[in-house]
């Protein structure tokens, strides 16, 4: 039963394999360029297991020690996860002992596979879901480790490599922009952040921008909700 579920899950994770391997390697190289030992890469890939958050983690680790700020940043960056769970209640209902793992391992990519793919006829759904998550995680941990090992084995000029994070956010922003007609939420985010950056400077603008975004979303709820519901 397990083997059958594993073989059924494998092909659906192949696109994730390439994506995770590539961005994992980029993360690992970036991590060593920040001066961390290579083994921090697998440690972070297991403890945090969230792509964009790990890239931001490197920025946070480069700043003075401030666990509260790190927590606030994590909750904000990963806030979207809270809404992934909402559509997984039924899928994880009978997962039993695997349920805590499935919740811990619910990354953007695993979520997207589990949302779109139903296990083939005759395949155990709960083992199928488990292997989708476990395979994806193994790619991510593997990619991060590989990148970190490469980064510490070869010395090369990594100046500017942190643009990988900027590029990542840019393409997510662009693809979200193209998939929606109402751009107000995206513009509110950019607008509040730019304003807060100008007012409070690069080290203290995150919290004020979050407050600004939240308030504008509350004020504009009626018109925005109406147009978002139409999409």
């Amino acid at each position: 039963m397990k083997k059958k579920a594993f073989l059924a899950a494998l092909p659906f994770t192949i696109p994730i394999f390439f994506g995770y391997l590539f961005s994992g390697i980029a993360f690992g190289i970036l991590l060593t360029s920040h001066g961390h030992a290579w083994w921090w890469a697998p440690v972070m890939a297991v403890v945090i297991l969230a792509g964009s958050m790990q890239f931001i983690a490197l920025e946070i680790l480069a700043a003075p020690f401030n666990p509260l700020m790190a927590l606030a940043m994590t909750l904000m960056v990963n806030a979207r996860h809270m809404f992934y769970g909402l559509s997984m209640f039924d899928k994880f209902r009978n997962a039993g002992v695997r349920k805590p793992y499935q919740i811990y391992a619910l990354t953007d990519e695993t979520y997207s596979v589990l949302c779109e793919v139903e296990p083939p006829e005759g395949v155990d759904r709960d083992w199928f879901n488990f292997f989708v998550a476990a395979l994806n995680q193994s790619y991510w941990v593997g990619g991060c480790t590989l990148g970190a090992l490469a980064g510490s084995a070869f010395r090369f000029n990594t100046k500017g490599i942190d643009f990988v994070l900027t590029a990542l956010f840019l393409v997510i922003f662009l693809s979200q922009w193209e998939s929606t007609r109402d751009h107000r939420p995206a513009l509110i985010g950019v607008g509040c952040a730019v304003l807060a950056l100008l007012l409070f400077g690069p080290d203290n603008f995150i919290l004020p921008s979050m407050i600004g975004i939240f308030l504008l979303m509350v004020v504009l709820r009626k018109p925005v909700e109406a147009s978002v519901d139409h999409e």
């Binding site: 980029a26 969230a50 994880f92 985010g189 950019v190």
Partner: protein
């Protein structure tokens, strides 16, 4: 940061991430639906937060002194162009980063 402080920070970020994944199961598991206001925020906040993160990743760009944010601007246009052209996450990220690295290492030194 010392290794000790790094470990604490990593654990905090791990706990925060797990918290965001577990929360809906703790709050709304079973038949209870989230309140409409929460559902609304869930639909619109991801767009705003990515916008904020784009600005975050540019936060240390100096516009008023050399090289005036020109490498960032060029690399950003490359990312946008590659994305419009092929719609491949990997290509856009790899291409933009490579161009940026060349610019800051060789052109705007």
């Amino acid at each position: 940061m010392s290794e000790h402080e790094i470990l604490i920070t990593v654990l905090v970020m791990g706990a925060g991430t797990v918290f965001t994944r577990v929360l809906p199961f703790l709050l709304f598991s079973g038949k209870r639906q989230p309140p409409p206001f929460v559902a609304y925020l869930g639909r619109v906040l991801p767009y705003a937060i990515i916008g904020l993160l784009v600005v975050y990743s540019f936060r240390n760009t100096q516009l008023l002194q050399y090289p005036y944010g020109i490498p960032e601007l060029i690399a950003m246009l490359i990312v946008i162009g590659l994305h419009k052209w092929k719609h491949s996450f990997m290509l856009s990220i790899l291409g933009g980063t490579a161009v940026y690295m060349i610019l800051v290492q060789r052109v705007f030194v």
